[in-house]
């Protein structure tokens, strides 16, 4: 697992910022008056997924020169995708405010980074 403070803070910053941006973008693009039918939630999730995926890839390029290539691009893309999907599902149901979308995105970004770090502790090392 990464132990250098510079890179841990960089990962954290990039994941939180991109997931929050994906959440905010999704919140602003999905109409709040959508009916909370399952199909609408699914459509919202797919819209959020696409927005989040592209926000994640863009964010990866934005932060990679400072904090690393795959080590940054993968958790950031996961954070953007998950942040967008979650907002896309919740916004038609609960009518999120921009602040709530940002807060949710930050939380999702941190969780995605923790997931990546945990997976790294399992996969790291010689392959038998």
């Amino acid at each position: 697992m990464e132990r250098r403070v510079y890179f841990i803070l960089g990962d954290l910053l990039a994941c939180a910022v991109i997931a929050a941006a994906a959440g905010l973008l999704t919140q602003s693009l999905i109409p709040v008056d959508w009916a909370a039918a399952p199909i609408v939630i699914l459509i919202g999730m797919l819209i959020g997924l696409l927005i989040g995926l592209f926000a994640g890839i863009f964010g990866g390029f934005l932060f990679a020169p400072f904090f690393g290539a795959m080590e940054l691009i993968l958790p950031v893309t996961l954070s953007g995708t998950a942040g967008g999907m979650l907002t896309g599902m919740l916004h038609p149901l609960a009518g999120l405010t921009p602040g709530e979308a940002i807060q949710g995105g930050i939380l999702v970004g941190i969780l995605c980074l923790v997931f990546t770090y945990l997976l790294q502790t399992i996969l790291h090392g010689e392959v038998k």
Binding site: F7, G10, L53, I57, F61, F63, A64, P65, F66, F67, G68, A69, M70, E71, L72, L74, T77, L78, T81, T116, L119, Q120, L123, H124, G125, E126, V127
Partner: protein, 201 residues
């Protein structure tokens, strides 16, 4: 025959290559690369030397030939090669079509090269040809993943990334085996994506 399309792609990338990879990615990987490169022995071929970012991680006093398909990359690598405290030469060369004699090198090193070589198995077979029998191939590469959701993400990213740079979903370990090498050791550096591969001719 020179692959002009690949050459143009990497000539175009040369202008921003150090900006994208020179600070964060290199700092993140330097210790691992230095450990791998510290095993350099005998006559060494370094494939896809690029702008020469890796040269500062090479142990001093070695005999190294660096090749790259892009002349613009090598223009940037030249001052770094000149400053290397050992014997280092740079050549513009396509790994698929190298003009070195058979069994010429003791070792071949690559660093994020076989994510970009257009025909990886043919390129690796060419490395097998120029290596002495029992010669070593040592690679620092990023590959595809077998872990969801990263496997899916790398597949989705691939069409975008390969238009201007590397592919993100290759199975380089399988390609090394398919080219005829004996894989001795694979070590995951980051997830199952960034790894070192050590193989024998």
């Amino acid at each position: 025959m020179k692959d002009l399309k690949t050459q143009e792609k990497w000539d175009s990338a040369a202008a921003i290559f150090d900006l994208m990879g020179g600070f964060g990615p290199e700092r993140r990987w330097r210790a691992r690369k230095t450990r791998l490169f510290s095993q350099m022995e005998g006559k060494v071929l370094f494939v896809a030397v690029g702008t020469g970012l890796d040269i500062s991680s090479f142990p001093s006093g070695k005999n190294i030939v660096g090749i790259d398909i892009s002349p613009k990359m090598l223009e940037k690598a030249k001052p770094r090669a000149d400053a290397y405290p050992g014997e280092m030469t740079l050549r513009v060369m396509d790994v698929h079509d190298m003009d070195f004699p058979n069994a010429f090198f003791d070792q071949v090193y690559t660093s994020c090269a076989f994510c970009s070589v257009p025909d990886p198995v043919r390129g690796l077979s060419a490395l097998l040809r120029v290596l002495k029998p029992g010669g070593e191939l040592k690679m620092f590469e990023h590959t595809g993943s077998r872990c969801f959701p990263f496997s899916l993400m790398l597949n989705v990213m691939n069409p975008l990334f390969r238009s201007f740079g590397p592919e993100t979903n290759r199975d380089t370990v399988a390609n090394v085996r398919a080219a005829g090498f004996q894989v001795r050791k694979v070590t995951n550096i980051f997830l199952d994506v960034v790894k070192t591969i050590e193989a024998e001719a």
